[in-house]
């Protein structure tokens, strides 16, 4: 047994490390997607989320989620680290979607509450101690391998609440209802960030199998990583095709969102799909992103990085897909899980953000947005020596 303990500890540390690559992953992706005047601010937010969320989770959230630090299968420190690597992601999803207008201080307050309470409660009723066990709201039979609902939807529900309260960026939607396109400022960073996220996903989903120390589990982990990758591939390919058919051009910003959508969509069931299902699931995930981005813009829900489409719509789709593409999974259990988590995550986030907003307004005013959050919030320009074009 000792050898299993050792190998699973090593495996968890390996998986954890891959997930931590998502910290620069998110940071680079978002730094590339926003305008140069808001780059330092989003980077600062990303660093602060990692720092604050991880500490809050260590001090409060982890116990709340799992009831205890004990672990038989591997070092409890490794088990913690693996779980800790997740928590910031929920908040990254939220912060990315309100970037270019949300101030740092209230985001940090929200990070504390999300990492210490909201997310741990979601984990509690799904993967953790489950205080709802035995009640009508028990959703522990939902199959959600690595957080399609638990992480991606949770973060994106918080984002939806935040967008509703904070509103769109200055001049994003014209008086005449026209949508003003605000392009990404640094495409290499976008690509680097997306690819680091992609690699991190191997640890995210593979590590969520929880153990590699038996022949079956070794197969399961490898299959999970393969399926994860496949869905990302399919998401990228389908969106490339859609872009080419529409514009005769390959819009890389959308293609990468398609890949990420594919990756989210396979996250709930990567361990129990056969090797072909992820092609369909990921491709549908990609299509969802393309229509989702347009839809949210029509609804004037301003989301600079496309997080609502990538994480919310695909978080839902991916959780449902498990019931459609894997056997022995109850569609109802999946939907119930989506609903319970969704209602809880959205409502609690809405209330928290609403209240925080009274004390420490999230929204930078028009003048601050015009100047850029970098100077207002950080005092540090991202590229001070580079001449900006108009």
């Amino acid at each position: 047994m000792e050898i299993k303990y050792i190998i699973d500890t090593l495996f968890a540390l390996f998986a954890m490390t891959l997930i931590i690559f998502m910290v620069p992953g998110f940071a680079m992706l978002e730094a590339g997607l926003v305008r140069t005047k808001n780059v330092t601010a989003v980077l600062t937010v990303n660093v602060m989320i990692y720092a604050v969320a991880s500490l809050a989770f260590m001090l409060i959230g982890y116990s709340l989620a799992f009831g205890s630090w004990d672990n038989d299968g591997m070092s409890k420190w490794a088990a913690f680290l693996f779980q800790m690597a997740f928590v910031g992601k929920t908040i990254n999803i939220m912060s990315g979607g309100v970037s270019e207008r949300a101030r740092i201080i209230p985001l940090i307050f929200f990070t504390v509450i999300m990492a210490a309470i909201i997310y741990p409660l979601v984990v509690n009723v799904t993967w953790g101690a489950n205080f709802l066990a035995g009640t009508a709201l028990d959703i522990s039979s939902m199959h959600d391998l690595a957080g399609c609902t638990v992480i991606h939807s949770t973060g994106a529900w918080a984002l939806l609440a935040a967008i509703l309260i904070i509103g769109p960026r200055r001049r994003r939607y014209g008086k005449d209802g026209k949508v003003r396109v605000i392009p990404a400022s640094n495409i290499p960073l976008v690509v680097l960030g997306a690819l680091l996220l992609w690699i991190g996903w191997f640890g995210f989903n593979g590590g969520s199998v929880g153990s590699i120390s038996s022949k079956e589990n070794a197969d399961l982990v490898a299959l999970t990583i393969m399926n994860t990758n496949t869905a990302g591939l399919a998401g990228a390919v389908i969106v490339a095709l859609m872009m080419y058919l529409k514009y005769k051009k390959f819009d890389i910003t959308m293609i990468l969102n398609g890949a990420l959508g594919g990756l989210v969509s396979v996250t709930a069931g990567a361990d129990i799909f056969d090797m072909y299902a992820p092609i369909y699931i990921g491709a549908i995930g990609g299509v969802i992103v393309v229509y989702g981005v347009a839809l949210f813009d029509k609804l004037k829900l301003d989301d600079p990085v496309g997080a609502l489409s990538v994480h919310l719509l695909n978080g839902i789709w991916g959780t449902i897909a498990v019931a459609l593409f894997a056997s022995d999974i109850s569609l109802w259990a999946q939907i119930k899980g989506i609903l319970v988590v969704g209602i809880f995550a959205f409502t609690s986030s809405y209330v928290v953000i609403y209240v925080l907003n009274k004390f420490s307004p999230f929204r930078a005013n028009d003048e601050e947005q015009l100047e850029g959050l970098d100077i207002e919030e950080c005092g540090v320009e991202a590229y001070p020596e580079f001449k900006r074009t108009i």
Binding site: L370, I375, C378, V380, E381
Partner: protein, 113 residues
């Protein structure tokens, strides 16, 4: 012919450009410049130390027009649309141009504009 040079706040460019086009000005050349004047620069940070950025980003618009009439139209369009009323709105300078050529067609002066 007159040349109008306007130094304005960058975010006013779009409004000014639209007003100029409406006023019948069909061409212009713009560039990013830095201004120094009464408007104070802001302070920035680096590793815990503060410093002042004195030069402020501005946009310069250059328009050459064939007549005083157009010059006045252009000036009006700029004045109205670049104004915020706060320090740093910028300046308009007018000078003379003795000759204009459109490279594509070799047309000169009025015809080139």
């Amino acid at each position: 012919m007159k040349k109008i040079e306007a130094i304005i706040k960058p975010f006013k460019l779009e409004d000014v450009k639209e007003a100029l086009v409406e006023a019948g000005i069909e061409g212009m050349t713009v560039s990013e410049v830095k201004g120094y004047g009464r408007q104070q620069g802001h302070s920035e940070l680096y590793r815990g130390a503060e410093y002042i950025v004195e030069f402020i980003p501005k946009v310069k618009i250059e328009i050459v027009v064939s007549s005083d009439e157009y010059a006045n139209k252009a000036i009006e369009a700029i004045k109205e649309n670049a104004k915020t009323g706060k320090i740093g709105d910028g300046k308009i300078f007018v000078s003379d141009i003795s000759k204009t050529i459109r490279i594509r067609t070799d047309e000169e002066d009025e015809e080139a504009l």
